[in-house]
Symmetry: C2
């Protein structure tokens, strides 16, 4: 790997495109390889062993393409299989979602009540809760976890702005609102697409997008390793991204457009 | 200067606290020196010569305190006096608001229509328009500048959520909305406090907070210069910030609280 190598990002499906978007925002001059394991999505309700096996396969795929950084965009992978990714990656640095997200939430909260919404697997793993407990030495923080299993299929169907999504969000979030949390971790890559809705239900709340903070952590890591490309003086119209998917979902283009805001072209179908 | 030196941030008044907030978000382990030149605020309607003189004095004050980076948080200073700051700063790196903000807007826009709202001085200087033109090599971008002189006093008075602020914002922004812009640069440090209101008037628009992107640019710069402190494993409850003001406004504490979300203690009164 060298300064011109790509940054590799993988996710169980298309949710990780919200993480990729944050990377492009802060590191527009890098090139990216994105894997969406769309043939085996979702990971959120599978066993840790199976998730670890899939994560290892995605990592190996990226390593063959000489990436300089591996980003486990999937919160489920980050929660239950990050050690596997790190082991497989060897010398290549790895960034997950939990540490950056938990850190950002701790810095943002004032009343020390942090909500966490994610898939059943992420919530059950207690990954965010444990990380918050580990790093909050002087603060006594209460965590309020809430699994929101239907948010992913709603986003996948493009129904994130529907009246039903609003009622569903109200149902999922009313308990957290009643607890008086002031900070909410979006512990699933799909959820940033619901942030407008969530903000409406809980005005004034700090929404933590783990992908945003993972991208800034990666920027720092790569800068310190002298592995960042030069900042171009000129604007680059189209980010340099190569997309791989293990299955081509019917509405891939609309989903990708709504995640990224631009046309991603045709992804390459792969077998992992 | 060394790795433990502070990051120096200066502004004409308290608006720069919104920039400081972004620095704390991404660089919580650094120490900061903040100057608010509250005795001579606002800079936005003064001549470029006077603004340059004041900016030089703020820079000299920070240099005496051995800072490792100087951040011109004020968009007016960044627009008309950044060269002065760079000259006075000598070997100490300087970050302004224009380049990071213009770059972020160019990356965010899809329909290539970018609105810019700021003080009369910032808008008249055409700083953002010129920077966008300079760096947008492949894109043809239209800029829509709009001075919003009353936004600053509304925020200073703590009236950013009042019905009058809403009517005022509607007046200022309706032209930009009719132009169909999809991206809006908040080219004044006070405006992030109005972002909720602006988002309400222009739903779905990309709001660009130059301070956010200036903080990430600074992170990169300091990382490459090996001047970043280590990331602490443990959470630091209270950021290490020393506040200096040239006058103590009556409602300083409420304003600072609403900018930063935490109590800043008593600032030190200085003569610049």
């Amino acid at each position: 790997m060298n300064i011109n190598s790509s940054i590799g990002i993988f996710d169980s499906g298309l949710g990780g495109l919200s993480v990729l978007k944050q990377f492009i925002r802060f590191l527009p001059n890098e090139s990216y390889i994105y894997i969406g394991d769309t043939a085996r999505v979702p990971y959120g309700n599978k066993s840790p062993e199976t998730v670890a096996k899939y994560a290892a396969e995605c990592t190996e795929f990226l390593l063959k393409r000489d990436v300089k950084l591996i980003v486990a965009a999937c919160n489920t992978v980050s929660s239950v299989a990050l050690d596997t990714v790190i082991n497989v990656a060897g010398d290549v640095p790895v960034v997950g979602m939990i540490k950056p997200g938990a850190n950002a939430a701790l810095r943002a909260t004032i009343n020390n009540k942090i909500g966490i919404i994610g898939t059943r697997a992420t919530i059950a793993s207690k990954s965010y809760q444990n990380e918050i407990e580990k790093i909050s030495n002087v603060k006594t923080v209460s965590s309020y976890p809430q699994a929101c299993p239907l948010f992913v299929p709603f986003v996948e169907e493009g129904l994130q702005n529907s009246p039903a999504a609003k009622i569903l969000a109200e149902d999922y979030l009313c308990k957290l609102r009643n607890e008086g949390i002031d900070t909410l971790i979006l512990a699933c890559t799909h959820y940033p697409l619901l942030s407008h809705l969530i903000q409406e239900i809980m005005p004034g709340i700090n929404l933590i997008d783990s992908g945003e903070h993972a991208s800034v952590s990666s920027l720092r890591l790569l800068a310190e390793l002298k592995l960042l490309r030069d900042e171009s003086e000129k604007f680059i119209d189209k980010p340099d991204i190569k997309f791989y998917v293990s299955d081509l979902p019917q509405n891939f283009y609309q989903q990708a457009q709504s995640f990224l805001g631009f046309d991603v072209g045709t992804p390459e179908l792969i077998v992992l």
